[in-house]
């Protein structure tokens, strides 16, 4: 320690405190816990159809939040996260169907696959800058799809079915799917929030705002980007495993569907990049739009695309950005407000 710190500590201990929670945050946290419990106990209040719908919404939220971490904080604009969703989905089917491992245990085991794949992929991809990185991630997802289409282990292009699930009753399956959904939200949203509030949250936001300055202030930007990439791969893998477990079917085009990247980008751009609130808002908007207007097919996608374009041009911070400019009421506050009586 240098003389600066000695001088600072020589000043009679100032009773400096830091305030972190806000009223809006307390209310939102209570609602979030209620919602999480409601998801976990879905079989006792919702029909199988509703559970399927909510499961889909949970997958959107999880994938969008992972994309938000990647693009919103680490500056890694990936359009190929479906690679990890498909990889984990296939891992689940192989473990449960081919090797006879308990499917619910297999969901967790399948997460090893995206984690292991993400490491060498990052070392290949991180040399690419900006748009080249994006194209690289897309190519990787396409390669995964082609490999799956030609790999006898996963039944090549014909795909696989999760027949082992028929040994469980519909109710048992619903209970498992509901618990998995709650777990997925806890890990992806709760985990992100915990990360943002931690010491590493400081580094993440600093990296988002100015990576050059962050590096000159002691933040290991390249390691942080790597860790975010691996974490996002695992998070997307979890969403993939849960989604395809509910589908009971997987084949290369569905497993590595680029639609997931589009959905994640739409949700985060509309909701507000770099915020958890934005992901929730964007996911709800997409979910509702998909229910109501999905039947219009191509026209519906054109409208979604135009909306994303308009937001990108005129409201870069998305809906949450517009809201938070007007009302200072974060749902997931991670700010550190200094209360310094000595000033």
């Amino acid at each position: 320690m240098t003389a600066i710190s000695d001088a600072a500590t020589a000043i009679p201990a100032p009773a400096v405190t830091v305030r972190r929670q806000t009223n809006s945050g307390r209310i939102a946290m209570t609602l979030a816990i209620v919602a999480l419990v409601a998801v976990a106990v879905m079989p006792w209040w919702a029909s199988t159809g509703t559970i399927r719908m909510i499961l889909e919404l949970c997958c959107y939220i999880a994938v969008a939040q992972m994309w938000n971490l990647l693009a919103g904080y680490a500056g890694l604009v990936s359009v190929g996260q479906q690679a990890f969703m498909g990889a984990a989905g296939y891992a689940l089917f192989v473990l449960a169907q081919t090797f006879g491992i308990n499917p619910f245990l297999a969901v967790l085991l399948s997460l090893i696959v995206p984690a292991v794949l993400a490491v060498p992929l990052y070392f290949l991809l991180h040399r690419l800058d900006g748009p080249y990185f994006s194209i690289g991630t897309w190519v990787v997802a396409e390669v995964f799809r082609l490999v799956a289409s030609n790999l006898p282990l996963v039944n090549s292009g014909a795909g696989m079915s999760l027949r082992v699930m028929s040994q469980y009753s519909a109710f048992e399956r619903n209970v498992a799917m509901s618990l998995l959904c709650a777990f997925m939200l806890l890990v992806t949203l709760g985990g992100s929030y915990w990360l943002l509030r931690s010491r590493f949250g400081l580094a993440l936001i600093a990296m988002r705002d100015n990576p050059v300055a962050a590096a000159s202030q002691g933040v290991d930007v390249s390691r942080l980007r790597f860790l975010v990439y691996v974490a996002a791969a695992v998070g997307c893998g979890l969403a993939g495993a849960v989604y395809f477990m509910a589908q009971l079917r997987i084949n290369p085009p569905s497993a590595f569907d680029p639609m997931w990247a589009n959905v994640a980008i739409f949700i985060v751009m509309i909701g507000g990049i770099g915020s958890i609130e934005g992901v929730l808002i964007g996911s709800l908007i997409f979910f509702i739009a998909d229910r109501w207007f999905g039947e219009y097919g191509a026209t519906y996608f054109v409208v979604l695309g135009l909306m994303t374009l308009l937001v990108a041009l005129y409201a870069r911070t998305g809906i949450w950005g517009l809201l938070s400019r007007r009302f200072d009421a974060p749902w997931f506050p991670f700010r550190r407000f200094l209360v310094d009586p000595n000033r």
């Binding site: 600093a206 407000f337 310094d340």
Partner: protein, 242 residues
């Protein structure tokens, strides 16, 4: 090597393609010293800082900090080794508050725990006259406050060597006097300072030594009064024909 030398720059060169920005510049900075760097725009001053802080790689030559070669060390590790810097064009974390900006430097560069950083950063903010803007969004600060934030944030990383890149530009006389007082206090605590500055009277009030760069070469170095009086410096820097 001399134990008293903190920063040793040996024959450092930098070229961007065919453009030569710095050519074999050498100098030492002693512990506890304030070295002022003068030079017209484009002389290579900021490039020199970028190579010391690791933002740019050297094309040739060596830089040592306290006897340790810096070659191959990334910027974040150089910060942890004790190099703190400000940017000429401020680079705040605009989405964070002023206080949080300092916390990043204290927690990562300074290696403190988050809790320890709180009181320390509050003290640095008071010292740099930013205490009343602690919870203000850094992106909404005025240019003057952003420059103060650059300095405060560099201090929060607890540097042994502080690189100041034009922090006095645009200040009023009173503000620049206050800044000189602050730089002196930092120096008095044993922090070694290298200061690039166009505001000559501010620099002359603190610098123990001056170095003048022109077109990427060192053209003079020594006690401030002597360096300023050199005919070549007068011609190059102040446009006075001797």
């Amino acid at each position: 090597m001399d134990k008293n030398v903190l920063l040793e720059v040996r024959g450092v060169s930098k070229s961007f393609g065919a453009v030569r920005v710095l050519h074999e510049v050498s100098f030492d900075v002693n512990r506890g010293e304030v070295l002022g760097i003068l030079g017209p725009n484009g002389a290579g001053k900021t490039t020199l800082f970028n190579m010391i802080s690791g933002d740019l790689k050297v094309s040739g030559g060596e830089i040592h900090l306290a006897g340790r070669a810096l070659r191959g060390e990334p910027p974040f590790r150089r910060c942890k080794m004790g190099i703190g810097r400000t940017y000429q064009i401020p680079r705040p974390y605009s989405g964070m508050t002023t206080f949080e900006n300092l916390l990043v430097a204290a927690a990562f560069g300074g290696g403190r725990s988050e809790k320890e950083s709180y009181a320390f950063c509050a003290a640095v903010l008071r010292e740099c006259e930013l205490a009343d803007k602690a919870n203000r969004q850094a992106g909404a600060l005025t240019l003057l406050d952003r420059k103060r934030l650059e300095l405060a944030r560099a201090l929060a990383s607890d540097p042994k060597l502080l690189l100041l890149d034009e922090i006095a530009g645009g200040l009023t006389d009173d503000e620049s006097k206050a800044l000189v007082g602050l730089v002196r206090r930092i120096r008095d605590r044993g922090v070694t300072i290298v200061w690039i500055e166009h505001v000559l009277h501010a620099l002359l009030a603190v610098a123990d030594r001056l170095m003048v760069l022109n077109f990427g070469e060192r053209i003079a170095e020594g006690p401030p009064a002597e360096v300023i009086a050199l005919p070549e410096v007068q011609r190059v820097y102040m446009g006075i024909e001797a």
